[in-house]
Amino acid sequence: MSAAPPLPQLRTRGRWPPPPGPRAAIVGSRRPSPYGEAVAEQLGSELAAAGVVIVSGLALGVDAAAHRGALHGGGTTVAVMGTGVDVVYPPSHAGLADEIVAGGGALVSQFPDGALPRRHNFPARNYTMAAISDVVVVVEAAQGSGALITAEAAVELGKDVLAVPGSIFSPLSVGTHGLISDGAGLVQNARDVLAALRVEREVLDDPLAPPASAGFELARAGDGLVLHLSETMALSASELARKVQLPVAEVVGRLTSLELQGAVRRHGSGYLRALRRGKTRA
């Protein structure tokens, strides 16, 4: 193994360094499937609740889900940026960046203030993510994904790489399954990550169990429509209306109402059951 290059000087916003404790990077596709997004969010939440600092890249998709999960879990999260710390990319994540800082986490960057997103910044950023983390967890990565650069850097730096399996039909599983067959740790739940981090405390009952509040409570609250939705396979309003034999106008309205309650969310042309209630989205 070659000697690791020194960690670049970091510009920071928020609390840096974060509170002492293990750090896990959660990285993956910028356009994950609903499954990948759900996994990233849940892992982020469970690990953060167990005291792990969640490191990610503030990008769309898996990164944002991991940050949001960590915030939801009441933990600390660090965004390693490919731009200056004062330039949020993508701009739609400005709110998320503020929440990260407000939640006691930090935005860090090796690039000077005002640096704009440049293609060649991101591999270096990916390397830094690995460098400041103890393990790297890859959630959905297609072939050639930037997340694989982070994994490679972690190997180079002698850190553990773990990967979350997916469907063998999905192009987003090619990268992660490749990592697993090359010897990366298999992640089936947050406990697998905690084990890699050698966190001895047993803090979780069943880390990746579906949240207790998603289904039945809402059914009691009045709209059983949500029970016909899945968390990973989006249904369109038309498909749902056909399934429950109701007029589509009513179904569209009730879905909006469920969105307001945070029980349902849009995904592309369809609707998914949201993982948690009462959670607003960026």
Binding site: P34, A241, V248, V252, G253, L255, L260, G268, S269
Partner: protein, 490 residues
Amino acid sequence: MEGRLIEVQAHAANGDVKFFLIGLATTSMKEAKDRVRAAIVNSGLHFPRRRITVNLAPPEVRKSGASLDLAIAIVVLLASAGKAPPPRSAFLGELALDGTVRHVDGVLVAARWLRRRGYRTLFVPSADADEAALVEGLEVVPCAHLGSVVDHVLGREPIPAAPPARPQPDPLQAIEHDLCEVHGQEEAKRALEIAAAGGHHVLMSGPPGAGKTMLARCLPGILPPLTLDDALEVAQVRSLLGELPARGPLDWARPFRAPHHGVSMAGLVGGGSGVALPGEISRASQGVLFLDEMAEFNSSALQALRQPLESGRVTITRSGGSVVYPARFMLVAATNPCPCGWAGDSRRACRCTPAIVDAYQRKLSGPLVDRIDIKVTVRRVAPSVLSGEPQGEASAQVRDRVIAARGRQLQRQGCLNALLKPARLRREAELEPPARRALERWAEQQGLSARGFHRAWRVARTAADLEGVDAVGEHHVLEALGYRLQDVAA
């Protein structure tokens, strides 16, 4: 649509045998001299061997084309005979060298306009007589040949006037594309019903082959039948473009225009040299303008749609002057969610990079899309639904509800809901307290813009009108909020 009156005067003087044509006639107009002379001679008439001056007034208007041929020939012959032209009459027609009176474009526009100006008799080419006869209260003299027109004017042998058409709206207008032929797509069909009822523009997003075009083609069939005035307006645009059939010129079907995304700005909004001709948006007036693959259209052409969308008219200025054409169309835009078409689909992976999807969707944002009240996603329909019998309602039933809902709007506020500005919306579409709370809560949670807020409000008003109730309830607002797109990249 306006006409322009050209007065043709002729003076026959003693002197050299000459033929002058004056009054800002363009080159194409100057050729009229030779056509008129040949037509007169070949009709067996006598071309005066005198010094003839024909003046076209007013002199500041550029005149071109051949539609004044007949008028010039008649005044020349009347001047040499020392007779006055028939009172309150106008002549339209091109002459062939043998004296045959040939078709000219725009007869219907001229006929309606002349009628409003108090003209009583219009001489038109025989081919265009049916078109002119659509105008009530106008005596239409069909002209086949210069010789017979002269006989008529000089009172030797009158030409029988064309029988007035007295067009009647056709309530049994066949529906060409019926919603009941569309499998599944309940959400999009409902969105179209609301759009038709409130006059809202629609954007459909979905992968190739999902049926967006088919759905759009169904929209004219659920709109109320054209009134006589509207049908005449549609025919006027076609008349200017020379596209009216000679027999049965009035079409009661609402127009459906689907220009290709390569269409030029002039083709879309109107243009051309001299006096601009109507473009696709005017051909679609009173009907539907369907822009498939909207992101592929030239963005300046799309931006040029903004003014017509606001005003229902388009003003085009060219060297020959300014013209105003109607452009009261319903816009139906369709798009893929990304260049490959599969972004956001649960079952199939999209091959576009996020940056490409982002750029594609940015083309779809902005001032034009901001004016589209209803946005709906369309998915490919599962084979099991496709193979079954379509179970939807027939367009005729949907149209009945649309007519009723439009009636409510016109009675209440004199216009369709899509045209309600915020101030009138507050007055005409009061929200019940739970409806207001739902809308405000949504705006707060989702960071809805003021425009988005009013879009949902308008659509909710239409949903209530379709239900036949005065108050806009919570379920109307919630449904209206459902007709929006989610950014795939966000």
